[in-house]
């Protein structure tokens, strides 16, 4: 790949054409990435032209450049938010030092681990969602799915850029491993549990983009406070894209709730069976999906009391959500009062603030999720419905952290194994729920059409209407696109 060719194919603001080290690394990695995309990216539709946003610059206009493009030809680029030359390490023991432009040797391994763990989630979510295109409820939604997918791909590029540029041979090997692991693969799974759970239906996809991508947002917010400036700048730019993913999730679930509310009003009943008979998804089912994906995502913040989290903060590698809102950026004195399981009950214990950084970030996340729930409930309110959605307690259904060992009900009260077993079907999706939602997953791929279980969006993409051709089918996939029953591999 020549320099000119490289720059044209890889939009960037990192002077790629002058960086021999990065060029060499990308020359080897980029073809493998494309192979991965073709193998593990969206199933089908790779030859179709999708109306996608491509980042070509970090300026206001540059990152929202729209065009119909075949996904394998998508120009995955490398962008960092503009550098602030005066920036200092925003927190920890090095607070106030000039921000690092190179990796400090003593933090190299820790930083690599942080970047690899973050990077691993990006291709993972593409893999989790790869079969969903076939069952999209509308072209608009299909386009949004692919937009999310290509941008997760770009986020992988962003992390790989850091690995290639700052971590030498180890970094290049880690970058290859990011393409080698596979979501849900028993032999080579993705690093974090949630990213190995299949996203098999669109309700899950919207929950995932609402709750799991929101974890991503908060991790990126914490990394944006890193003293390692290239990481901070990379994640700042990623956040602009992440916002769209959460928009897709939140409005997606919102539209399903809206549809359920309309059906309840039309039929004059809130009985789940009747809503289902009319082709909608009833609110209790939506709530169970919410419970599942929210509780799974809450795990991603890690242990409540964590020496790793303390070290990351102390070293200035990871800050707090909105670090500049705090007065004390060293955080050595503070105490966090944490409810701890003890003798079958819960009692508060004081934890040094630095060791509670994961919990602090989780607090921010939960607050953000509450806002989402509030907006969904306004939809119900507007429709004149008395029902309300809610967030389960953070202790509910945990697999990581101090609450993983015990059972807690949806309100966070400790319960027995027997109680859990008796009640779990009301809280989490059961087999019958799964079968029902799966039965709704029928393709609705002609533009202007929409599935029975979801309301259309208020407006389309980039000023275009909902009824617009967001995906132009290539002849080869038209048969699939226009309604023939798809065969889902791995189904």
């Amino acid at each position: 790949m020549g320099n000119v060719d490289l720059n044209a194919r890889i939009p960037n603001n990192v002077a790629l054409n002058e960086d021999r080290r990065l060029q060499r690394a990308l020359e080897a990695w980029q073809p493998k990435y494309i192979d991965w995309w073709l193998e593990m990216g969206p199933e089908g539709f790779q030859a179709d032209e999708v109306y996608l946003r491509t980042a070509v610059d970090v300026g206001r206009d540059g990152w929202a450049h729209f065009d119909h493009v075949k996904m394998p030809d998508y120009r995955w680029g490398i962008f960092l938010s503009p550098q602030d030359k005066e920036r200092v390490v925003p927190c920890g023991d090095h607070f106030g030092d000039k921000a690092w432009q190179q990796v400090p040797g003593e933090y190299r391994n820790m930083l690599r681990r942080i970047i690899v763990t973050q990077g691993d989630t990006e291709p993972a979510s593409v893999e989790q969602q790869r079969l969903l295109g076939r069952t999209a409820p509308s072209q608009y939604d299909m386009r949004n799915l692919f937009q999310v997918n290509v941008e997760e791909g770009r986020h992988l590029w962003a992390m790989v850029y850091l690995l290639h540029t700052f971590f030498g041979r180890d970094g290049r090997e880690e970058a290859e491993d990011l393409l080698r692991r596979r979501s849900g693969d028993v032999d080579s799974p993705r690093i974090l549990g949630t990213f190995n759970e299949p996203v098999e239906d669109w309700l899950s996809f919207f929950m995932f983009t609402t709750f799991t991508d929101r974890d991503g947002k908060f991790q990126l917010l914490a990394l944006a406070e890193s003293g390692f400036d290239p990481l901070s700048r990379t994640t700042r730019f990623m956040l602009t894209e992440e916002a769209h993913h959460m928009f897709v999730g939140e409005t997606g679930v919102g539209r399903i709730i809206e549809r359920a509310a309309d059906l309840m009003n039309e039929l004059g009943t809130d009985e789940p069976d009747k809503i289902r008979a009319a082709g909608g998804i009833d609110l209790p089912t939506i709530q169970r999906w919410l419970n599942r994906w929210y509780s799974s995502s809450v795990n991603l913040f890690g242990g409540e009391q964590s020496s790793n989290a303390a070290t990351y903060f102390a070293s200035g590698l990871k800050g707090r959500y909105k670090e500049d809102k705090y007065e004390d950026h060293v955080a050595l004195e503070g105490i966090y009062s944490m409810p701890m399981p003890k003798n079958g009950g819960i009692s508060d214990e004081e934890v040094p603030l630095r060791n509670a950084m994961n919990e602090l970030l989780r607090d921010g996340y939960i607050g953000d999720c509450e806002f989402v729930i509030g907006r969904w409930n306004r939809t119900l309110e507007k429709a004149g419905r008395p029902e309300r959605m809610f967030l389960p307690h953070r202790r509910f259904n945990r697999e990581v952290g101090i609450y993983a060992a015990g059972d807690y009900d949806i309100e966070g009260n400790p319960i027995s194994d027997a109680e859990w077993a008796a009640k779990v079907d009301g809280w989490l999706p059961g087999e019958a729920d799964m079968d029902y939602v799966k039965s709704l997953m029928k393709p609705c791929l002609e533009h202007g059409k929409i599935a029975s279980w979801i309301a259309p969006p208020k407006k389309g993409i980039n000023g275009n209407p909902f009824e617009w051709e967001y995906v132009r089918y290539d002849g080869s996939s038209a048969g699939v696109a226009l309604g023939a029953t798809p065969s889902l591999t791995g189904d």
Partner: protein, 562 residues
């Protein structure tokens, strides 16, 4: 394990319940143990709140002494109670984690003396496990089905084979240096380059990467013997264990062989000492006395007869009791700095037992196992950081296997009193089957600089009297009856006045002349450095890494090197 009320008098240690070392499967809190056919499976499932002391939780399969006491018991019982077993598989019963090593908070909250003795005991246990392969033909497989860090990896390295799950995450690591500013103190660095022969530069890289090495590279660097994908992992381990377990074990360790069950010693532990059937420990101030009684009866007629009433056999029981007393001394009586070793009874009975052991140890697994128990116990004595003086007095029986005790001592005093003649005599036990950790016998080590003296001693037929013994060099000095009391009293008083630290260092240096082995390196080089580092501010000072581990502050180092 915790039987008696606190008796510790150390000024360094708070009053803690004394540690007891006998346990049994019914009392295990941290391990599961199953035998099926020739394969034993030992599952680690450390109970967080069942540690030896308050103040720490044994998370992530991390261990403290209580976990290791059980491990030592498992290894011992496997050797005696399950002679049909050919392979031991060690695995974790906790998902995603094999073992996180010694518990950091436990180490952080322990006295220096406890840390040193903890490491010594865990090292002895791993060597006992390791020796099982050569001594009993029981092969060991570490089945790493989850992350394996620090002491966890050191345990794995004590096994014959390490199989690592390749799932993209599971790694082996020695994070002590980068994370805690101490050493992997349970043989880790030594086994890395001496046993597994990992190239020194790769070992250097490995020992400074806190997150460790996983997958193919772990196999390429010989950190593990095989990496296997998760989907085939269990099956591979099972197949490999079956493969290693083909054929019969040595010395009649056949699938149908009956085991010998280990019964509790039921010793009496008081403030005044420990009383077992054949071994007693008493104190006077900072001077302790171990007295070993000779057998009252001769050995059984043959190996089969030995098994009829095994827990009453003098040789085995004496070894177990002596072992228990030494551990009690180390952990529960830190201020007893000088230890007098005495024996009482009929030396001919000791020699008769030695002949019995020598005759049958080559063909009978149980007799051989008794020998191994005494070998281990003598090594434990070599490694006990107390001044050891043997007092050879009238009525004593320091012959053959018991003479080995005088050879383990720093000095030996033999009374020369024509009215009360004393004799000492060698047996087959002094000629090879009880090597020290340097691989040589105690006599070989004693006479390193004078092979002809060694040869003459070995060629000597029958007993020595006191004067002849001093001339032959097999005792330090033989004062006559007029000098004896003063000579011995002054030696003891002088010894008790010297710095315990300096004595510990001096004795450890003088006891192990001769070649280096994996064992001597672990107890000498590795432990000595570790003990130094454990005292240094960079580890245990207010801003030391070990002190601050898990706390919000980061360590601050003094950058001067020695």
């Amino acid at each position: 394990m915790r039987v008696n009320p606190p008796t510790i008098t150390s000024s360094e240690a708070p009053a803690l319940a004394p540690v007891r070392f006998e346990t049994s499967p019914a009392a295990y809190k941290h391990w599961t143990f199953e035998v099926e056919g020739g394969i034993a499976r030992l599952g680690m499932r450390v109970s967080e709140n069942d540690g030896l002391r308050e103040g720490y939780e044994l998370k992530l399969n991390s261990y403290d002494l209580s976990v290791d006491i059980e491990l030592a018991d498992v290894v011992q019982r496997l050797r005696y109670e399950h002679p049909g077993v050919r392979v031991l598989v060690i695995e974790s019963m906790v998902p995603r984690i094999f073992c996180a090593g010694a518990n950091i908070n436990m180490l952080g909250g322990s006295t220096h003396a406890f840390k040193v003795n903890f490491c010594k005991f865990t090292n002895e246990t791993r060597l006992y496990l390791e020796a099982m392969s050569a001594e009993c033909g029981i092969r060991t497989v570490a089945s790493l089905n989850g992350t394996c860090a620090g002491g966890g990896y050191e345990l794995a390295m004590a096994c014959d084979e390490i199989i690592l799950q390749d799932d993209g995450n599971t790694a082996v690591s020695l994070p002590e240096v980068p994370l805690l500013a101490v050493l992997p103190g349970t043989g880790g660095l030594t086994r890395l380059v001496d046993k597994r022969k990992v190239r020194r530069d790769l070992a250097d890289v490995f020992s400074t990467v806190a997150e460790g090495i996983k997958g193919r590279r772990a196999e390429e660097w010989n950190l593990v013997d095989k990496v296997v994908p998760s989907s085939r992992f269990r099956e591979y381990v099972t197949d490999r264990a079956a493969e290693l377990g083909e054929g019969e074990g040595p010395r009649g360790r056949t699938p149908t062989a009956d085991g010998v069950s280990i019964e509790p010693l039921a010793g009496e532990y008081t403030d005044e000492g420990v009383t077992h059937r054949h071994v007693a420990l008493t104190f006077e101030g900072r001077v302790g006395t171990i007295t070993v009684q000779a057998p009252k009866q001769g050995p059984p007629a043959d190996a089969a007869a030995a098994r009829a009433n095994p827990n009453d056999l003098w040789f085995w029981r004496m070894a177990r009791e002596l072992d228990d007393v030494l551990l009690d001394l180390r952990f529960n009586r830190p201020e007893v700095g000088t230890l007098l070793v005495k024996t009482e009874g009929d030396a001919s009975q000791v020699l008769a037992w030695d002949a019995f052991i020598a005759e049958h140890e080559g063909s009978d697994w149980f007799v051989h196992e008794m020998l191994c128990a005494y070998k281990r116990c003598c090594k434990r004595l070599d490694l006990t950081a107390r001044s050891l003086f043997a007092l050879i007095e009238p009525g004593s029986c320091f012959s053959g296997s018991l003479f080995e005790l005088t050879l383990a001592c720093d000095r030996s005093y033999m009374l020369d009193d024509p009215d009360h003649p004393i004799q000492i005599e060698l047996s087959a036990m002094n000629r090879g089957p009880l090597p020290m950790s340097n691989g040589l016998t105690r006599l070989q080590t004693r006479f390193l600089g004078s092979p002809e003296t060694l040869e003459a001693a070995l060629a000597h037929e029958g007993p020595w009297d006191s004067r002849a013994a001093e001339e032959a060099g097999v005792v330090t000095i033989s004062p006559d009856d007029i000098d004896w009391d003063d000579e011995v009293r002054i030696a003891i008083e002088e010894r008790a006045s010297l710095s315990p630290d300096a004595l510990t260092g001096m004795e450890a240096n003088l006891r192990f002349a001769g070649p280096e082995t994996l064992e001597t390196k672990i107890f000498g080089r590795l432990s000595a450095w570790q003990n130094w580092i454990f005292q240094r501010p960079n580890a245990v000072g207010e801003q030391g890494a070990l002190t601050l581990y898990g706390r919000p502050e980061r360590p601050v180092f003094n950058w001067s090197r020695t």
